[in-house]
């Protein structure tokens, strides 16, 4: 790899590790300093490597420069030495003079702790996702802004405020106490879930960025199952859900960026390794008695990896949606449930049920009715597709509904 290619790659992987380790060492109050040291390390790398060429072991090079910069910072900072140090040594189990430890174990441990720190309930879920992207996944501000379909200033402000808040709250970089773990784990999982959904469902055009978001969410969740304190069934369920979804990532969109409906997807493009992994994780999720929405959604996603349209498949999907909706209502789940109902119990029953849904502003609702009425009452089917078209907002949605309308003779 050329130095021009290797640095962005290293940045994504190593920046977050350096920040997490430094933060664990010098405390969350100095998150910005940790970020600065990490950034400076990369700046130094750009300058030095540009002149001297890439070092033999770029990662080790980065770690030793980061260590030196951190040491210099600690030594220079006299206020720190005299005023904060006595305070810190009380709170911190590790003495500060100790070597900054960039071993794989400590990197893993620091990132895991960091995950709980940035998913602190005192900040909004949007901010949790943003900070996770920045500090744990190494995304640039611009990329985060892209993912959220907003601008850099908004993201900068949001992250700044979130960091301030975490500082005020004196958030510690450590795993929660055992009795607290379930609650705190909930917010970590919902952050990972939001991160994943941002990648999987967002209408942003950048396909590579979107897939990166999904893979990062999977990586963070994998870190949780590798630890005995956090490897709970619901974590496995979320991980399995994300594996099943991601397995179909390449099949969901054509070269023009247009969505391909599930029934039209080329299953040769599905990733069967991920499906197999998803199945292993789903089995592990079956331990224990707690049934979460992740379990139900993972079950639904599992059945979607079975391409055959069997009675059993749709009956299972329907029952999983029945339970999911009892746990937590969402309009999309209500629509998907109605589709599963048409497959399991027949279109007539599904039409009756669909008409009870109060989703008359939603273009997916009319697209579903158009689908249900096709071959039963084509006039009504066309009517509903037209309503859907008039409500659709994005050009992608409009194109796919127009295609349905074009199927009918003029």
């Amino acid at each position: 790899m050329q130095s021009s290619e290797i640095l962005p790659h290293l940045f994504r992987n190593e920046y977050t590790k350096i920040v997490s380790v430094l933060c664990k060492h010098i405390g969350f109050e100095r998150l910005e300093i940790a970020e600065e040291i990490a950034s400076e390390t990369f700046l130094t790398a750009t300058e030095t490597w540009g002149i001297k060429g890439n070092p033999q072991n770029p990662t080790a090079w980065l770690y030793s420069v980061a260590k030196n910069k951190a040491k210099n910072y600690l030594q220079r900072n006299s206020i720190f030495q005299n005023k904060i140090l006595p305070e810190l040594t009380k709170a911190q189990s590790e003495p500060l003079e100790s070597e900054i430890d960039l071993s794989p174990e400590n990197i893993y441990d620091s990132q895991l702790r960091m995950m709980f720190a940035v998913c602190h309930p005192s900040i909004s879920s949007e901010a949790q996702v943003g900070l996770s992207l920045r500090i744990l996944c190494g995304f640039g501000i611009e990329e985060i802004a892209d993912a959220f379909l907003t601008n850099k200033e908004t993201i900068n402000k949001r992250l700044f405020r979130a960091k301030e808040k975490l500082r005020e709250e004196k958030t510690l970089i450590q795993l929660p106490e055992p009795e607290e773990i379930e609650d705190r784990l909930d917010s970590v999982l919902s952050t990972i879930y939001l991160l994943f959904n941002e990648g999987y469902y967002s209408i942003s055009q950048n396909k590579t960025l979107r897939k990166d978001l999904c893979l990062e969410a999977i990586r963070l969740c994998s870190m949780l199952v590798e630890n005995k304190i956090t490897d709970k069934p619901q974590v496995y369920a979320l991980l399995s859900l994300m594996c099943f979804h991601t397995s179909r990532f390449e099949a969901r969109q054509d070269d023009n960026g247009e969505q391909i409906l599930y029934q039209d997807q080329d299953k040769n493009l599905w990733n069967y390794d991920l499906i197999a992994k998803g199945e292993i994780f789903l089995n592990k999720a079956a331990n224990g008695t707690k049934l979460t929405k992740y379990h139900l959604e993972a079950g639904i996603a599992y059945w979607h990896t079975q391409k055959e349209d069997t009675k059993e498949k749709w009956e299972n999907i329907l029952q999983l949606y029945n339970r999911l909706l009892q746990l937590q209502y969402s309009p999309i789940a209500a629509l998907n449930r109605t589709y599963a109902l048409s497959k399991a119990n027949g279109k007539e029953e599904a039409i009756l049920e669909a008409e009870k849904l109060d989703l008359k502003e939603n273009h997916f609702y009319f697209a579903l009715l158009g689908e249900l009425y096709s071959d039963i009452d084509n006039t009504k089917s066309l009517e509903n597709f037209r309503k859907a078209l008039s409500l659709a907002k994005t050009s992608h949605d409009k194109t796919s509904i127009q295609k349905k309308i074009d199927q009918y003779p003029k």
Partner: protein
Amino acid sequence: MDEYLILMRLDLITKEAQPSPEQMQIYMKMYQDWVGGIAAQNKFVGGTGLSTEGKVIKSGQIITDGPFAETKESIAGFITIKAKNFEEAATIAKECPILRGEGNSVEVRKIVGTDNTR
């Protein structure tokens, strides 16, 4: 929206009235589809099935096994739903699949005293 309780009454004791495992499976599906439909309208609040055995305590501290001694209609389960008025709650309750069994009944009661302005 107000909250309403739907109580489902079944004959849980007469042997002939008890469904076979296969029938039970069909009934459970019908029941789940019904509740799923309520939840899909965002009108499900909570609820569950109940065990068939029970204890009844009467005045004078007399405890008997089960609520079935004098009646064939026992509460088999309940759910609470959101509805605009009694009429809507009754319309939803009318579709409860247990009503397909003869002698079964459901009872709709408004839950009073809760703040439903949210």
